[in-house]
Symmetry: C2
Subunit: 127 residues, 2 copies
DNA sequence: GACTCATTTAGCATGTACGCTAAATGTTGA
DNA sequence: TCAACATTTAGCGTACATGCTAAATGAGTC
């Protein structure tokens, strides 16, 4: 691969959400009030602990979790702000962006510059 | 692997959104009014056509696109209903999952009635 | 200090994702 | 019918994801 040498926040976010174990961790954390120890989380699954540890790291990299050491346990805290980023992205599709309502300048994509970096020239043809 | 022999709708959806090229395709389609030919889409990228074709297939598998043949071109149509699925999932984190109000509480051990299919039973001891 | 508990790090195996090029498919138009 | 066009399918290589087990770390306990 070489398409994403620098995965952006959206890459990390949606990739984090793409795995059922990770979604389940988030849901469970949410249910638990936002905080669980690594052990409690690991017990949710049949997976080996290191497997869950890595899921946790992936989500921490995506900014969905933070952790804190308390004695010999580690507490993981849910951080929902990044989820809002995902919601913001999805909201782009709630209306017709061209003929419909005004375009809010949400952040959206921004891989390089704007939403899709669209340059639609209808009737395109390549040589 | 064996964790996802049958990727569910959320897996497919979020995985589809995890790649910048695919997000850009969706944005572009939305921007263009919901429909573009495969060629127009392919021209958005420096990628080879087959690469884009496969992105399109991934999104079609996720239910985000449909296509239609018109003469020798193929028109891809945006289907935003599956995006609503993602929004619905994210909405689980907007409120207190237990009491329905604003986030609070710190209890563990909660019932299961959500997309993540949580079944928290702590005190489990894996042998 | 030695032992145990809680968790992570290291390292391995396998499958999938994603890029590519070459060939195939199906359509239109002469 | 043949050539050009629009797009997909086939097949390849590499990198990354995800599972595992074994070893390492760090914190309390005796």
């Amino acid at each position: 691969m070489e398409a994403a040498p620098n995965p952006d926040a959206y890459d990390l976010l949606f990739a984090a959400l793409a795995h059922p174990a990770r979604r389940r961790i988030l849901i469970s954390l949410n249910f638990a009030g936002g905080t669980m120890s690594a052990g409690q989380i690991a017990e949710l699954f049949g997976h080996a602990w290191p497997t869950t540890t890595r899921h946790l790291q992936a989500m921490e990299a995506a900014g969905l979790l933070r952790h804190e050491r308390v004695g010999r346990t580690r507490l993981y805290h849910l951080d929902t702000s990044k989820l809002a980023l995902g919601r913001g992205w999805l909201d782009w599709f709630e209306r017709d962006p061209v003929h419909g309502g005004p375009r809010r300048s949400n952040d959206l994509e921004r891989e390089n510059h704007d939403p899709g970096a669209v340059s639609i020239e209808h009737r395109g043809r390549r040589s």
